[in-house]
């Protein structure tokens, strides 16, 4: 018996009535959004349930939408059910002024480095993470580079002529 997107949506809506919204299926992958308070509860339910069985966290990342005031940072979880071969995407939005999201490291060990990377790039503060420090950038960096307002190049260079490079 295969697990269809409608069935997943139905089970989730039964368990979390009216708390999950924005159901879409871009390119066949079920995508839904929830409030950031229930992100761990939803993932725990998807993990424990025998039928849903989403036991593998493929990916954890964030996206910055500077135009959505109050919900600028989206933390995106990609979960995968290996038995029925179904993937889903779960998004959680948070305000950029207070980007606190519960950490998933207790449930998935693979979330450890991925959350550190998300913190490093976007500044999302994961509550409950054992070691939330910068991972890829230098430790002394004081801004979060992948946010849209920061440029790609190093601004402190003096040896490059900006006119020649079209900047």
């Amino acid at each position: 018996m295969s697990l269809t997107n409608e069935r997943i949506q139905q089970r989730l809506n039964e368990k979390f009535p009216d708390q999950l919204y924005n159901w879409q299926e871009p390119y066949g992958m079920l995508t839904f959004t929830g409030s950031k308070e229930i992100n761990l509860k939803v993932m725990q339910f998807l993990f424990d349930d025998e039928e849903l069985n989403f036991r593998f966290l493929s990916d954890l990342q964030a996206v910055h939408y500077p135009n959505q005031v109050g919900e600028e940072l989206a933390v995106v979880y990609h979960l995968h059910n290996w038995v029925s071969n179904v993937r889903i995407r779960f998004k959680v939005f948070t305000d950029i002024k207070q980007p606190d999201v519960y950490s998933a490291t207790a449930l998935y060990q693979s979330a450890n480095f991925m959350e550190r990377e998300t913190y490093d790039f976007f500044g999302v503060n994961f509550i409950g993470h054992p070691n939330l420090i910068r991972i890829l950038n230098v430790d002394e960096m004081d801004y979060f580079p992948l946010r849209k307002e920061y440029p790609l190049e190093d601004q402190t260079r003096i040896d490059k002529d900006d006119e020649m490079f079209g900047r």
Binding site: N137, V138, P145, L152, E153, D154, R157, D159
Partner: protein, 187 residues
């Protein structure tokens, strides 16, 4: 009964320094002999960080053998090596590490920057990549390419050999060299 002495005068020597040769001895300039010995026995330290490191592995393997140039032994301790081959992108996080490795090397030491990333930052003009290792250490030869072919790495290595050959014994004590080291903040 003694054997007749034979002189082998059909073999030509390459790369011998000029000097006065006689039977069983040769008189030449001391610098030239030292340079000849140095250039044919360079021990490199492969500081391989990324893709250029894999091309270095191909250079070291049997197809494009680096050992025939005298680098049979690649060392990983900076105290024992002459040539620092920096291959791959150096990020800002790695810059101090590179400088520490360079400082530990004993004189005379040479540096070859292999690849576009080590020479000038390469295709990564970003906030996190050091735009060329000559921001932190002095470089002798730059090998362009992304990644350079093993032949190009060997060409760069041969240019280092030319540099080693031409270097006098007193260069490392000269004022010009000292001021170069000062400009990098290296004692």
């Amino acid at each position: 009964m003694s054997r007749p002495v034979q002189f082998n005068n059909t073999v030509k020597f390459q790369g011998i320094p000029e000097g006065y040769m006689g039977e069983g001895f040769m008189a030449t300039n001391f610098e030239k002999v030292v340079s000849l010995a140095r250039k044919n026995s360079i021990w490199p330290l492969p500081f391989a960080t990324s893709c250029c490191g894999i091309e270095f592995m191909a250079t070291m393997a049997s197809h494009y053998d680096l050992a025939r140039f005298g680098s049979e032994r690649v060392g990983f301790s900076p105290r024992q090596c002459d040539l620092l081959m920096v291959m791959g992108t150096i990020a800002k996080k790695m810059g101090p590490v590179l400088k520490q490795v360079y400082v530990q090397m004993a004189e005379p030491r040479w540096v070859i920057a292999v690849g576009a990333c080590a020479s000038s930052g390469g295709i990564f003009d970003t906030y996190s990549v050091l735009q060329g290792i000559d921001q932190v250490i002095p470089v002798d030869v730059y090998v362009p390419g992304c990644p350079p072919r093993p032949e190009a790495i060997l060409d760069g290595f041969m240019k280092i050999q030319d540099l080693v050959n031409a270097e006098g014994l007193r260069r490392r004590n000269s004022d010009q060299y000292k001021s170069l080291m000062e400009s990098y903040g290296i004692q």
